[in-house]
Amino acid sequence: MSTDVAVKKVSVTIDDKKVEVTPDKTVFQAAVEAGIFVPHYCYHPDLSIAGVCRMCLVEVDNAPKLQISCNTPVRDGMVVRTSSDKARQAQKGSLELHLINHPVDCPICDKAGECKLQDFYREFGLYKSRVELEDKVHKPKAKDIGTIVLDAERCILCTRCTRFTHEVTHTDELVIVNRGNRSELKTYDDGPLRNDYTGNLADICPVGALTARDFRFQQRVWFLEKKNSVCTMCARGCNTTVSVNPKTKKLYRVEPRRNPEVNKSWICDTGRWRYHYVYGESRLRTPEKISDGRVLESTWHQAFGEMKRALEDPSGIVIGLSTQLTNEEILELVLSFKESGVKHFVRIVDEQVIEERSPWDGVLKHRDHTPNAEGFARMFSMMNTKFLDCAGLAALVGEGNLRHAWFFGLEGEDVSWASRFVEALPEGVSLTLHATSRLPIWERAQWLLPAASAFEKSGTMVNALGRLQRLQAAIPRVSLARDGHAVAFGVQRGADRDAAPEARHVDLFEKLIAAPLLGREQVWKKLDPMGVALKERS
């Protein structure tokens, strides 16, 4: 963070590379800025310094004793060597000591492929083991502690997890008991973990001691490819990477992506493990028409045709848009329906939360479970269009001219806040729902159209902090699901003969959204993966 007074930087030479850093930094951080990798286990950029793994030993200024780089402050003119013979020997020795009691679990351990012990062994170790298997210290194996499986024998006691439960969630559930090489990691009452951020423990654990039960034995990580995206389960918009198997194109896990401005290195358990609705039983896979209480599988062609016909009398139609839609989808749907003469738009959101003064939970979560309420407001103000809230919808119903209600973009299995809008509609109004999942609160609907989930569509969203972030599709659309762009295209034509253009969001973003929101041109591909902070809404 820059301050008004320029902080004098100090110059440090690491491995013959000169780098300038502020004097409050450590040698390790300076090495990171210089692009030099120093092996480490217990250091984490978002946790306090522990200095217990002793892997980041480096030579400083020809001193005889090696220093740990994570706790050595920089000094002007310091000369550091991270890969000299002496440093490498120390790192190798420390690695060997980490491995002497470590069980040979690689075939059954989920961490294989992203395990720091494996990685460092390949890069710095490659020595032959000098310990007999029967001499190893044994500790309790796989123990279920709720959402995480704890294997105390694999633990290298780096204390990242105990620091996490102490500093981030303030729940202090994980402790290390006993001393010496009998030290063991466990929950303080041998019970399950009780906080909403347990998934992060599996991320920060450098080995397979803490693994996610959701991902247990599902895939080997080298079969998966990672794609950058953004979480859509609340208005925080934590940055994520989504792991997909490119052969089966199936989604296997969601992990947080580090963004110091939004979510640091964390994501809540909801955002991490709720993705199962994408493949769940309740997922809508084909358009369904409900008449006389019977559900009929139908086609998009039929749906589009009926909707186009209904548009002949646009004054009797109200369009409901969920704040789970991307900016581009909102823009396209509104512009398209406005062109057809529709005047009434409703914002479907959890209205109680929108008005709350402090809707945050103290760590990450926002009580608004939709990701784009802020973007919704900005898009509508950009288009100079008004939208109604639930009370406004009721008033509109009261006027008596309403024939059709079309609600778009309802996502996930937890959209209870939308039921108020559905209940506000009387019997005579035909309800068409564009949603990802079939839920009991949709019983009233006449048409159920399968929507593309957040993992299947691309676009931009603005989170509650006013940050424009980019969502990217990671998996192909499930069955016949379609996003808002395809629906707008189809309704305009009233038929499903031509394919909707791909990458419509790129066009819309670059031509219509970038300039008003960012104040400048922006190519979609080059949009900062960490997002862009927007100015306050006037």
Partner: protein, 165 residues
């Protein structure tokens, strides 16, 4: 252009001699086979079968532990090593905590398998071996997907998988 002054000798210009030479070779083979059939390189399959070395790579066998359970821990190294991408494994939790992981499904698509033996080399626990069975012809395409049970029994020759249409 100068013309070559060299001319083939008569014995080679007369084509008939070359023909007779060729026929002689054929005749020699004919009579050798007729009079000493043991020296023919052919193997009279299926009455006689070739003896292959113990390292011969045939249908895979999934080995078992002394207690009869499958040895495989579903580490997926064989699936990763396979160049033909023909091994498909689904891992599951084993009720015995000392074993922890085992394959719920272990399918090998023999139509894709090239019998290279990379799976055998990759396995860290000696759970998959290339056996000696090579008579794998069949009539149905789906019969070529060998499941975990098939592969555990693959050492037993008398099991025939052929299902006639």
């Amino acid at each position: 252009m100068k013309r070559s002054k060299y001319r083939l000798p008569l014995s080679q210009r007369i084509y008939l001699i070359a023909i007779l030479k060729g026929m002689g070779i054929t005749a020699r083979h004919f009579f050798t086979n007729l009079l000493r059939p043991g020296r023919m390189p052919n193997v009279g399959y299926p009455e006689k079968r070739r003896n292959y070395s113990p390292r011969f790579r045939g249908l895979q066998i999934l080995t078992v532990k002394p207690n009869g359970e499958i040895r495989c821990t579903a580490c997926m190294l064989c699936a990763t090593a396979c160049p033909a991408d023909c091994i498909h494994i689904t891992a599951a939790e084993h009720p015995n905590p000392e074993v922890e992981k085992f394959p719920k499904e272990f399918n090998i698509d023999m139509l894709r398998c090239v019998f290279c033996g990379m799976c055998e080399e990759a396995c860290p626990v000696d759970a998959i071996r290339m056996g000696t069975r090579y008579e794998l012809a069949n009539f149905e395409r789906n019969q070529f997907i060998y499941t975990k049970d098939d592969l555990m029994r693959a050492g037993n020759y008398t099991q025939s998988r052929v299902t006639r249409p």
